[in-house]
């Protein structure tokens, strides 16, 4: 009986989160320009890296890149890396930004006292980000396959989704930590920009992390996105049977547990503090 109510409650939460996701989609799609941007953005973000790569290597093949990563084709390496980072970054923003957006509109306080749990709201926004960039990712890959003829290992598609899912989980944990800071500190939104920029630099999208200076390599090694992007690219290029890829997946799973626990604890702590001090609205 108790289990049944629990499942019912969970279902209710999921439904509410889904409703929020749909609402954000509708808001977004009600402007023609944002529809256009949605379609073109992933390609426009990728373009400078591809064109710059061509300019510097004199074509799409770079022997230096091949020596470092085993992949010499700039387009294949970069487009897969980019697709993944765009996705991961959106998941981070979906969580971190959802609170920032509410704060901005000035409704944060009403959200915090409303019957809908804030986790539902955060997950709803996150769900939107994931479906949004998920479709962007597919679009991007299709363009890459059609225009540049990159070859993917079809058997790797399913396991690559595991990499995606595990990365998103870890990012939710990081997202909760960021939310805690945003809640507690004036101008906390700056943290989101900083964290996003750091991920942007240390993720092996267009270059392997071995090219980074030593201190950035340390950051890269504790970032879940690093293992996510390596296994994503690995699965899609070499299929599901490479042991080194599964090694990355295991590390990712461990990071999941660490970040989710840490994120949840820190979030609870800061929310309690904020409610006690009653400073939510002062932004």
């Amino acid at each position: 009986m108790a289990l049944k109510t629990k499942i019912n409650n969970l279902l209710k939460e999921v439904k509410a989160a889904w409703a929020i996701c749909i609402k954000v989609w509708k808001d977004e799609l009600s402007y023609p320009l944002s529809v256009l941007y949605f379609i073109l953005a992933p390609i426009l973000w990728l373009a400078p890296f591809i064109i710059f790569g061509f300019a510097i290597a004199g074509g799409r093949y770079s022997p230096v890149l091949e020596k470092m990563t085993g992949i010499g084709d700039i387009v294949t390496y970069t487009s897969l890396g980019f697709a993944f980072l765009g996705f991961a970054s959106a998941a981070l923003w979906g969580t971190g930004l959802s609170l920032r957006r509410e704060q901005w509109i000035g409704t944060l306080e009403s959200v915090l006292v409303s019957p809908v749990s804030r986790f539902t709201i955060i997950f709803g926004q996150g769900l939107h980000s994931i479906t949004h960039t998920g479709s962007g990712l597919v679009l991007q890959l299709v363009v890459m396959i059609v225009v540049f003829g990159i070859h993917l290992n079809l058997w790797g598609i399913f396991p690559s989704l595991i990499a995606v899912a595990l990365t998103i989980l870890a990012i939710q944990g990081i997202g909760f930590m960021i939310c805690s800071i945003v809640l507690a500190v004036k101008q906390g939104w700056m943290i989101i920009d900083v964290v996003d920029t750091v991920f942007w630099v240390v993720t092996s999208t267009a270059y392997p992390i071995t090219i980074l200076p030593a201190f950035l390599q340390v950051v890269a090694r504790v970032s879940p996105i690093t293992y996510g992007v390596e296994s994503f690219r690995g699965f899609l290029l070499y299929g599901p049977w490479q042991p080194w890829i599964w090694q990355n997946i295991v590390i990712l799973a461990v990071l999941d547990i660490i970040y989710l626990t840490l994120g949840y604890l820190i979030y609870l702590k800061s929310e309690e503090r904020v409610k006690k001090k009653g400073t939510v609205h002062k932004f």
Binding site: Y37, F54, G58, V64, I211
Partner: protein, 287 residues
Amino acid sequence: MKNETRFKYVLVDETPSLGVTMAIAWKSVKIALRYPFNILFWALVPIGWIMPAIFQGLALAGGTMSAEFASVAGTPDWLSYVILGSVLYMYVMSAVWGMGNALRWEQMSGTLESLLVSPVSRIDILMGAALAETVTTTLTATVQFVVLILIFGIPFAFPYILPFIVILTLMLLAFYGFAMAMAGIVMIFKDPDALTQFLDTLLYVLIPVRYPISKLPYAARILSLLIPATYALTAIRAIILLNKDIYAILDMIIILSVFTLFLWTFGYLAFAYAEYKTKKSGGTGKY
């Protein structure tokens, strides 16, 4: 009364006054300086945005020089090329959005109507905002430039400082014209997030930030030639990286001047029209 005739009346403007422009600019700079953390933030975080391009270059070329790059850009030194391009790009962006953002800020804080009701030329309001933005951006761009030079130890030479300033000023002036139209769009659409992101991303691909436009597909190259920043960036690189003198970039100066003239006329009219539209819809005070 017909609408066209009434637009004529809105178009009538006060005489611009340098004193008022300076007062508006100084006020904005003063307010900006009261958020010192913001300035530092905007100086340092964008450096992170430039980094991926640099690391990518290192991973593809195996060093800071590339013979293939030299064949299209005229210099093998892609690192200096990218750093210069990226810092200038941020400069361009601040010129494009500075006015609009300033107006939006006034609108959000509730002071826009106080400005619009005073007997001040709209040129003063817009240029005051632009000037303030230029001061703060010059500050952040200089910090970025110095930090990047320190990190990578590139010896930038400024053998011809005067043509550099001339080109930079012309580029800003041309973009101020465009910015007036953008400020109009901000006034009407309030929060045109999708539009600004779209234009930013598109400009980044089209203007020669990381690579010369000869590497672009044909259609994109044509578009690129319609943007003044393309000429400004090419000219500035010619001076600094290729050690050309002012005679070598005379054609760029002329093209930029024509752009400036055209964009100012267009931008001024577009902004006045936007003002007319918001005055009709009553949207000056709402946000």
